[in-house]
């Protein structure tokens, strides 16, 4: 019987199954960062247990690390303790690789995994971070877990799981100029809602998805969790294989050839049945901007802020009204009339080299508008930063008035010093526009790197299609 990619991956990892369908699933790669691991390592220690397989662990410090003045170390003592606790835990327990604060390969865990070749097709990849769905771009069964499960994976190399339902999101056609993977992701979330994918593993397919680079595919799978799906998936093709060739932890020589043969099977069979199929014609997707406090509160850039009065569902209407109050916006305001205070280009969604190239192409030879207090570029990793500098992208950003920072999660969630002040409005390439996400009282609008770059130059949102 034809199988979906998810079913193949699931079947390949079942160690044992209980009568009610709960399965023990083997975990190939365990990514670890400082925020969600200390209590797990402590639990392991208290129980006198050891990690089952340290060669599965790849760790880095990313959430708390500062993005400037690295010579001063981590000045916030609470953040410093958390990062030092990770240092100590990895020293005590071991790992395949650890990229600590200031290591040239340090960076956001979801950027570091793929670029080091630690994320390989067919793997189960877990991390105490919801954006682990990113790695599904490599046909991995990859999802976020809580700290108890981090401890469970450390101790047993397995997780207790129930099989998800399957959803195919078919995006066929050609994406318009200025329309990116981020816009596809936001348009999908706008259509199915932030709970639309709950209980599903979403496979993204169709010619528009095939045409994306690995960076774009990672952006798309990264946002699967914002549609409620823990897992996003994209089949292996030549783009996947070309990306992986020569990466430090990717197999070499004969073993590479053997792996590639295996990887090419990692696609849904023709005729495989999904529990739900949704078609999104690529041509209908324009550049997207969120206007509210949930990623599903999103409209195309040439639209207006919606009016809650036209929403029939009272819970939704109340939510819209609250969001507009929080965002300081009124119904029917054209999106392009929204002026900004800050711009953030970064996060595990959009901080890879392709994102920085795209933003730099918009910025080149232009200047950040005078009403923008801070325009920040935070590369996803030390290696992305180095490559961008080799290409001169840092100079383009600096010349325009952007700050060029050290890698980390930064203002996506503002655990370090990079944040919004109350009332400040930000065009952000990150993934969540929740109340307070980028700083208490901060107002976040999610956009693509190109749209963020254009907004920095104009001082307000503008339609990137008119710039190209």
């Amino acid at each position: 019987m034809p199988q979906t990619l998810y079913e193949k991956l699931w079947q390949d990892h079942v160690v044992h199954q209980e009568a009610d369908g709960t399965a023990l699933i083997y975990i190939d790669r365990h990514l670890v960062h400082e925020v969600t691991s200390p209590q797990a390592f402590e639990g392991l220690k208290l129980a006198g247990r050891k990690p089952w397989r340290i060669s599965s662990i790849v760790a880095t410090a990313d959430h708390n690390t500062p993005t400037d003045h690295w010579d001063r170390g981590i000045e916030d003592p609470v953040s410093r303790l958390q990062v030092e606790t990770l240092d100590a835990n990895i020293r005590a327990f071991g790992a395949l690789a650890y990229f600590p604060f200031k290591d040239p390969r340090q960076g956001i865990v979801h950027v570091v995994g793929p670029e080091s070749g630690a994320t390989l097709p067919g793997m189960t990849v877990v991390c105490g971070d919801s954006h682990t769905s990113t790695h599904g771009a490599f046909a991995c069964m990859a999802h976020g877990i809580g700290t108890s499960e981090v401890e469970h994976v450390l101790a047993t190399q397995c997780l207790l799981q129930k099989k998800s339902k399957t959803m195919l999101l078919q995006v066929d056609g050609v994406l318009g100029r200025g329309v990116t993977a981020k816009d596809v992701a936001l348009a999908i979330i706008g259509r199915i809602g932030t709970a639309g994918g709950t209980g599903y593993a979403i496979e993204f397919g169709g010619s528009a998805v095939r045409s994306l680079s690995m960076e774009g595919r990672m952006t798309l799978c990264n946002m699967a969790i914002e549609a409620g799906a823990r897992l996003g998936l994209i089949a292996v093709d030549e783009v996947t294989i070309d990306y992986l060739r020569g990466r430090p932890f990717a197999p070499q020589g004969a073993r590479w050839e053997q792996a590639v043969v295996h990887w090419r099977r990692l696609r849904s069979d023709d005729g495989a049945r999904f529990d739900r199929v949704i078609e999104m014609p690529a041509a209908a997707i324009g550049p997207q901007v969120t206007w509210g406090t949930s990623p599903e509160m999103v409209v195309p850039v040439d639209a207006r802020v919606p009016d809650p009065a036209s929403e029939p569902d009272p819970v939704k209407r109340e939510g819209m009204e609250r969001a507009l109050r929080y965002m300081g916006l009124s119904p029917d305001l054209p999106i392009c009339d929204i002026a900004l205070d800050k711009v953030f280009i970064g996060s595990c969604t959009n901080s890879r080299i392709e994102d920085l190239r795209a933003a730099a192409a918009v910025v080149r030879g232009r200047t950040v508008a005078s009403n923008i207090r801070l325009a920040l570029v935070v590369p996803g990793s030390g290696l992305v930063k180095r490559q961008a500098e080799e290409e001169g992208l840092d100079e383009i950003f600096r010349a325009a008035g952007f700050e060029w920072r050290e890698p980390g999660c930064s203002m996506c969630l503002a655990m370090n010093a990079d944040r919004l002040e109350a009332g400040e409005r930000c065009a952000s390439t990150s993934n969540r526009n929740f109340e307070g996400r980028q700083g208490a009282g901060g107002r976040t609008h999610l956009v693509s790197p190109e749209m963020a770059a254009a907004a920095a130059i104009a001082g307000h949102f503008c339609d990137i299609r008119e710039w190209l």
Binding site: L24, S130, K162, G436
Partner: protein
């Protein structure tokens, strides 16, 4: 993990959809390396009028009198009544830790986000899904009834209303068993250690590149 069998508790209603884990426990409190002490910062941005920081004495901070958790009639609540997609967003287990530390042992909602839902079971919190119409009715009931209690009975898989009506709910048999007994997942899984070793050995042979 503490067992969960049956809870007779005061209900506090949180009448909004898509409550995310950033709202349940804001990021600055995630810097802690402990599992406890998050209760005072549960819903921090909604509960207080100022911005909270770790290490501050929260008892000295100005409370937001409009926020439901601060209203005297809901003091001591053990059951949170919520809308759809509760617990969406970040995977932070600090969210259930904060609910538990505050004294909430169960959340009744129309739907939950997957990761949060899963995290609850690891901490002795029972997330209960009820149909939208029942949730609507419960909001009306709690609003109209000061001191409204519900009984959440995991053994019988029902929520009992004060008027005697019982609302059945579904729960995975395996998760139910773990909660009823307060079982530690890791201990359970390690009973299968030999199976895991055999699986791993086979995998290493078939896909050696995964074990570099």
């Amino acid at each position: 993990m503490e067992k969960f069998i049956r809870l007779d508790g005061l209900v506090v209603p949180l009448d909004r959809a898509n409550v995310d884990t950033d709202a349940i426990i804001p990021k600055q409190f995630l810097k802690s390396i402990r599992r406890s002490g998050f209760g005072p910062n549960l819903f921090d941005e909604w509960r207080y009028l100022d911005v909270g920081e770790p290490g501050r004495d929260d008892s000295l901070r100005p409370l937001n009198p409009d926020f439901v958790l601060n209203q005297p009639r809901y003091r001591g609540a053990q059951i949170l009544l919520a809308r759809q997609n509760f617990g969406c967003g970040s995977s932070r287990e600090h969210a259930p830790w904060a609910l538990l530390d505050f004294g909430l042992r169960t959340v009744i909602a129309e739907s939950f986000a997957d990761i949060f839902f899963n995290n609850c079971f690891k901490n002795g919190i029972l997330p209960v899904v009820l149909p939208a119409a029942e949730i609507d009715a419960l909001f009306a009931l709690v609003e109209a009834t000061p001191g409204c209690h519900l009984v959440v009975d995991l053994e019988q898989q029902v929520v009992l209303r004060p008027d005697g009506r019982s609302l059945p709910f579904a729960v995975d048999p395996f998760r139910r068993e773990c909660l009823l007994n307060g079982w530690d997942d890791i201990g359970l899984t390690l009973r299968h250690a030999e199976l895991i070793k055999a699986f791993e050995a086979r995998r290493r042979e078939q896909q050696p590149w995964l074990f570099a």
